[in-house]
Subunit: 342 residues, 4 copies
Amino acid sequence: MASVGIVGGTGYTGAELIRLLVHHPDAKPVVITSRNVTGTPVSELFPSLRGFSDLKFEDPATVNLGTCDVVFCATPNGVAMTLVGKLLDKGIKVIDLSADFRISDQALWERWYGMKHAAPELLASAVYGLPEIERERVKSARLVANPGCYPTAVQLGFLPLIEAGVVEGGLIADAKSGVSGAGRTEKIAFNLCEAGDSFKAYGASGHRHLPEICQGLERIAGHPVELTFIPHLVPMIRGIHATLYARVPDRSVDIQALFESRFANEPFVDVMPAGSHPDTRSVRGANTVRISWHRPGDGDMVVILSVEDNLVKGAAGQAIQNMNLMCGFDEAAGLQGPGLVP
Amino acid sequence: MASVGIVGGTGYTGAELIRLLVHHPDAKPVVITSRNVTGTPVSELFPSLRGFSDLKFEDPATVNLGTCDVVFCATPNGVAMTLVGKLLDKGIKVIDLSADFRISDQALWERWYGMKHAAPELLASAVYGLPEIERERVKSARLVANPGCYPTAVQLGFLPLIEAGVVEGGLIADAKSGVSGAGRTEKIAFNLCEAGDSFKAYGASGHRHLPEICQGLERIAGHPVELTFIPHLVPMIRGIHATLYARVPDRSVDIQALFESRFANEPFVDVMPAGSHPDTRSVRGANTVRISWHRPGDGDMVVILSVEDNLVKGAAGQAIQNMNLMCGFDEAAGLQGPGLVP
Amino acid sequence: MASVGIVGGTGYTGAELIRLLVHHPDAKPVVITSRNVTGTPVSELFPSLRGFSDLKFEDPATVNLGTCDVVFCATPNGVAMTLVGKLLDKGIKVIDLSADFRISDQALWERWYGMKHAAPELLASAVYGLPEIERERVKSARLVANPGCYPTAVQLGFLPLIEAGVVEGGLIADAKSGVSGAGRTEKIAFNLCEAGDSFKAYGASGHRHLPEICQGLERIAGHPVELTFIPHLVPMIRGIHATLYARVPDRSVDIQALFESRFANEPFVDVMPAGSHPDTRSVRGANTVRISWHRPGDGDMVVILSVEDNLVKGAAGQAIQNMNLMCGFDEAAGLQGPGLVP
Amino acid sequence: MASVGIVGGTGYTGAELIRLLVHHPDAKPVVITSRNVTGTPVSELFPSLRGFSDLKFEDPATVNLGTCDVVFCATPNGVAMTLVGKLLDKGIKVIDLSADFRISDQALWERWYGMKHAAPELLASAVYGLPEIERERVKSARLVANPGCYPTAVQLGFLPLIEAGVVEGGLIADAKSGVSGAGRTEKIAFNLCEAGDSFKAYGASGHRHLPEICQGLERIAGHPVELTFIPHLVPMIRGIHATLYARVPDRSVDIQALFESRFANEPFVDVMPAGSHPDTRSVRGANTVRISWHRPGDGDMVVILSVEDNLVKGAAGQAIQNMNLMCGFDEAAGLQGPGLVP
């Protein structure tokens, strides 16, 4: 039984880690930290966890993480990079759910995140934790950079087409996220009266997930990729829907077969029958990315529809999947079960 | 491993039974019926179940339920009463999620449900499946009438006060339900444009759950109970919140202790600390009833707040809890796990 | 054309005042203040007002309100009481949308609001602005205390029964509000992920609107009234639904006639046909309180259902109605038009 | 005062026509029809209209529309084409809100709508009622085909770029609609439990609004246009958000100026400041299309964000705008007023 620490546990990803680990056969949360609510039981902040966790939030300044086998960093961007080195030195495996180690190019990271990187020496060894692409490297990693929510849905959606080299020209990812993607935040923009019963784009001129997605797609493609990425805010709690546009002029490509064979052995990618439209609720609470595709009017343009739960496959679930790989557990341990519908 | 049949599986309770049984250690759905979509895979109607169920809907007119150990009737009111006798004759245990066997008084049932009862001879032996009250009788029952969603939340909320005999005068249950309480229905009133971003009462002059609740409360009290019950429709998917009003003039009653001791050994009733306000999302997808109480202004009136997921503890979860008791399984088998928050 | 000032204009009631005044034939906003966004155009904060208002937020510390005929205070509790005296001295009519002048009993106010009252000498002359009860006094008032959102729906719902003296025993008001009732606030509890798809009670042990409602009902009744008031949070933006319980043992009371005759000449109270269930959306954006009643099972208990838009009849609309009365305008000026459905 | 008839008044566009006409200075609904609820008062079906309309639904088979000056057809596709001829013969102006006359090419219409056109002889004289493009023709039209909701938002968004001839290559319209876009329908897919708290694409392989949009864009461009159009369903009531992608390689094009000058005299198109993100709620209930644009990473791709209320500028509001033009009224009559926010 692995002992798990969660640093920064008052956000939605922290709570989701606890929720998912409740039934994990091989791992157990033993410590969780928070600067703001030190001493408060986790189940007081999240009454849904009453009866499932006796943990109290501990002060990150004084907490002892030395007994942990694995630590999840569920901290705001810029925090994990100051902590990870010490944890690795103690032989602790680390999965960082923030953006600190997602982009290998230090200068690129610093430009998009507007701060100096505190641990650039770790960037090279950090493994980008998208198991469908980096499974083998994750297994032997000591530090995993857990992908962003949009990048997971977008990269997995484009993956088979780019690997097959059938795309011509630039890509478009028109992505939509539930409000929990913004985290457990007090910002007025996410008040139910502001975000409810309405829809809008945001970050249309440039969003931090763009360079992360491009890095991933370019590694697959082996050459630069032109991507337009426009995120939107949906009046719902969980879920990401990525509508992906790619030109595939060659009509002889069997796209359904391409997707099905690429993901045949993936426990958490579900390719739907041709002509389907996945809805985000079908993966609510589940670690699945569900994908379908269309070729409207039998034209050049192929449209891929890719959905996930941003807090599960887009964050905490994928982090546990990575832990499972790093620790030699069953990759699906603790992550099984269908979405909550309705 | 018990073989489970589900009659009438295209509604929300049918789908919820499948969802919950996916991980049940001792029971497995082997047959599911539907009049309208015979031949369709369950996972086509509910894509969230893709990979979790290979069942197809079978025609109820020709299906063979004889191999089942347990059958759940998730049919509209008036159907189960025509089927149950034959199932019992085959030695099959039956749990009816409809209202057909909830009310022992045939005339009362016929008045509220507006039809002749087709199996009045079974009414006496049907056990009302609220385990917190009828656990021992459920264990030996062959036919369990699974309680309604409102009646579960309301009865469990009033239970300790009524058992203790501390209430004076009439009771009020001001109850609120998410839209899934109406079932998977095409009625225009439940279209998102009608039920969304709005709130209303319904059935204020008389709702079918009233006699069911009164029957239960009167059995506990041992005398007639005056209850005003007003249901409301909340613009959310799952969840019931019952706000219960009872006069308890005796200030010496330790209400917190009364609730905590009454439910001390109940795996699915959670009494919150004094002064709490449970929210329905804290039990989303979970089989828990979460309860707290208040005595505003230290007056005579005690207010109990009782929440549940109408599809779980209010329907499919409670049905599985009853199955577990009837079959000698662990009462909580397949029903563990926290609510999905956020 | 009256010149209108709005003090504290960045909240929902401030924005709603602007929205409603856009088409007022006799009044025009000429100044609006905010401490936090001084210099910002109103239409930048509320793009829905683009093209409808050229105003910019001015600094309340330096603004000149001397040119106003009427000033609305849409400030947090405790602010208006420091400003009103000076405005009245300049001959300006003041309508305070906060709670500062709603309760005549200074000690009672100070106990519920947890602060010392800064202008107790004005309490006696402040008129409680519920036109259906205080119309004549409002007409000649210089300072009107605009009622709270819950108190408006609750008082108007109980009014005919209490005036008629037909109620026996205590009253219950089980009230439900959309999230905008909490104001334009950054509190995490009102984030869409927290308040969405869920339902809860709050303030069950005591809410500040309780003494305000009791004061109003006792003035009508002429004697003390026992009221239990439990507010709830509904996952919607606008709307209040009050479910009101009162014992009316005398079956000979024609309740429909009582309500219809009491409100026959009220432009903003709509008594529905017997047996109706008003929904909050039917008054979305409108200045109407819509009411119906039930006598379940022909028992002693009468249940009144009362809905309003908390930002209109429960705040800004009622404030304009009061302004119209104070200024001698048509009482309905600027307030006509049906609710926005769907 | 023009006498207005509404044929097919039980849907959302029918109700919205009534809501908007309540305060129209020059037009008044005098007759409204419905096959299903003949004899029912409009205000019974839509209680929000209580006090605003005394009309009852009349039987379309026997109704006399001869006294009308203008008739709105708010009927399902395929109905108006059987009625319009007779109305025109009586000298009545007709605005058809269905799709029957939107596409000039009879064969194209029949292919997409799957039926034989019943009045092909009227197609040539029917004017496509997008005033921003066809204002002068609308003024003299006897029959106006009111544009679809998506086509309005998409065409107005692309219009300035296409008129200026600065676009290279194909276009993409990733469009999102609230549920009311599907009409007042009983389909299970639009039940709050199905469409709520979720997001999905639909009609990705081909949607009927595609040929309508293409027809409009090609008329502007003067040559064929390649468009990929993917609609999505948003868990909200009203609102369309179109995210439009067009390649504009020439960086010297001043796009802000292009949009501002094109719409400078348009009362119902609002071009936001550069860098803005319009939200659908900002036009809730209003007849405005609100537009902004972005050039992410200063690349070739220009992204236009275009929002409208699908029931107002996307249906009933635009229909009234067309009526105003046809009848010589002020184009904005009855259509003024800001969106309902929050």
